[in-house]
Amino acid sequence: MTSKEYDVIIVGGGITGAATARDCALRGLSTLLIERGDICDGASGRNHGLLHSGARYAVTDREGAEECIRENRILRRIASNCVEPTEGLFISLPEDGLDYQANFIAKCREAGIDAQAIDPAEALRLEPAINPRIIGAVKVPDASVDPFRLVDAHILDAQRHGADIKKFTAVACLVKENGRVVGVKTAAGEVIRSREVVLAAGIWTAGLAREAGVNIGMMPSKGALVIFGHRIANMVINRCRKPANADILVPGDVVSVLGTTSDKVPIESCDDMRATPAEVDLLLREGEQLVPSLAQTRIIRAYAGVRPLVVADPAGDGRNVSRGIVLLDHEERDGVPGLITITGGKLTTSRLMAEMATDLVCKKVGSSAVCRTAELPLPGSEGRKPSFEDPFVERAAIGRHGTEVSRMDFGKGGEILCECEHVTRAEIAYAVEHFGVRNISDLRRHTRIGMGTCQGSFCIRSVAGALAEILAPDPESAARLADEFVSQYRQERWKGITPVLWGDTLREAEYMQKVNGNEI
């Protein structure tokens, strides 16, 4: 039996792959997206959640800055349910001086970014948590974006326009015939054919390409981040100086994220990225300059992601390498037809990356369909959000899923299981049905379960039970599955807790040890 031949197979279920799948599907191409794990399992799920205005790049990378502000405006429109228009501040401390700020404002304006200098006293009124020593502040249209929600929305739209999504399916290698890439072979041995293959697998792209005889010089650049237990500021707070470590604090839902570092790491380490205590210490030292109260703020956990930077010269620390979009036509570049790579770029510019990749796919397969992704709203962001007679329980679900909440069946249980994020039994059932959730980690990515201030301490047992009841065939195996979920969840969270294990976090850790009956 031969399976169908697709126009295009996209490898990678991060934001780049999801946006490319959506664009291809909207243009009428028969599309398959294949992802080895769950969506957002790589860098797309391990970042600031920052929708750049482009201001950060205005001084050093004019092109990148212009891309950011254009895409920023588009995403606010098409993904209104994923974007929180917080706005951002670039603050100057005495040691930064005001010369950089003057140049910064001029460059922002040249790039089309609305940058307004405001009085330091006014900045402190807007955001009382920032360092009171500031000598200058500039307001820019930065925003907060939920990367999980954004990727989910792209996947849903791709599916609704006919794309097939295969999650939890690793690609073992690309299939080549007479020098041409004609599809992929899965780890299970299945060969799936297509006219074009697009690699959108972030840092994991290099390995797949190499197997097919194509060399892409990729440099994994690790970025570590720290999550604090509440919203310290309502705007994105940046330092007005040359981009450096730990100079951005981003509000995201009920918490705040500080980042990031930038260090070259071995490619082998990318499958198990974790923040280290040393990175956390560095982030805090620098972050306290932005917002002094970070020193006393409860830290929830730390995590790390990998930027897929493409380099000609693989030396350097990764911060001076361009973070521009890299589109590789391997037919032109390497004489390997049928293969395209899209990488580099940013979460903010993912739609543009997808458009560029899809334009190339269309050229290769002879389609003249035009891109419509900048105009059509994503699922969840279409028109007015539904209202409920009894809005309390549903409010958080509307916040997460927007207009999609009308597909949720509250008859399946309106009781709140995760108190921090107000996740109901109905939302869990919805996530299983629509996103193929198999375990608690998947559920977290699609509902934010356990991502609030208690980090699952209070809710995880009832959540695990509810999820297991849906997934397991009988009560006995449900109980076993629930236990597995709980220990998997605890281990996963523990990875993010150990780098910040002191003070209140250490108090909580002792509590968790006792609750779990772990004994010394």
Binding site: Q491, W494, L506
Partner: protein
């Protein structure tokens, strides 16, 4: 205020010691801040402390020891937050039973772990990376951290064991001795 014994900490370890000492006829004072990991909930610790009160034990509920007067290797008294610096709780001997991190018997920052009442010597890993095991369900090193005691469970402060300060319960470092309360009764009964 004078007692036959002052116990700092009203969890399982502190209440147990208080019960044994008061049964032996001693006038005991317990400083109990509140949340304890060793006795869960609110009703159970309340019941235990009420039973002790009925037997004549003085319980300072919701109070915490904030300072200690130490001279020549002996504790002369402690002060509490609620009674203020002017009131000293005095006794021939003292038992430290404040638990670990959760109950704030031990405090910590990025580099240090310390015992806040006496500044007792705490056993812990010098590097924070040695405080934990990556495997959540493995024994965690930090669960073994605590104050260092000698073979009679006397607490070390500045490298020297204080003569009349003993420790018991979770605050004691793994491998160190916990106070033998029966022995304390033998040693101290009828002294004052």
């Amino acid at each position: 205020m004078r007692f036959d014994a002052v116990i700092i900490g009203g969890g399982y370890a502190g209440c147990t010691a208080a019960g044994i000492l008061s049964d032996a006829g001693m006038k005991v004072c317990v400083v109990s801040e509140g949340l304890s990991l060793s006795v869960s909930g609110s009703k159970t610790p309340y019941a235990a402390q009420s039973a002790l009160q009925k037997r004549g034990v003085t319980i300072l509920r919701g109070d915490r020891a904030v300072g200690a007067k130490v001279e020549d290797g002996r504790v002369l008294g402690i002060t509490t937050r609620n009674l203020g610096p002017g009131t000293m709780l005095e006794a021939p001997f003292y038992i430290l039973a404040t638990g670990k991190f959760f109950s704030r018997g031990l405090l910590s920052d990025k580099e240090h772990i310390w015992e806040p009442v006496f500044g007792a010597d705490v056993e812990y890993g010098a590097d924070r990376t040695s405080w934990f095991d990556e495997d959540f369900s493995a024994p965690q090193p930090f669960m073994g951290f605590g104050v260092k005691t000698d073979s009679s469970a006397r607490v070390y402060v500045g490298g020297k064991a204080l003569e009349n300060l003993f420790a018991t319960g979770d605050i004691v470092a793994k491998g160190c001795k916990e106070a033998n309360v029966t022995k304390l009764i033998e040693d101290y009964a009828g002294r004052e």
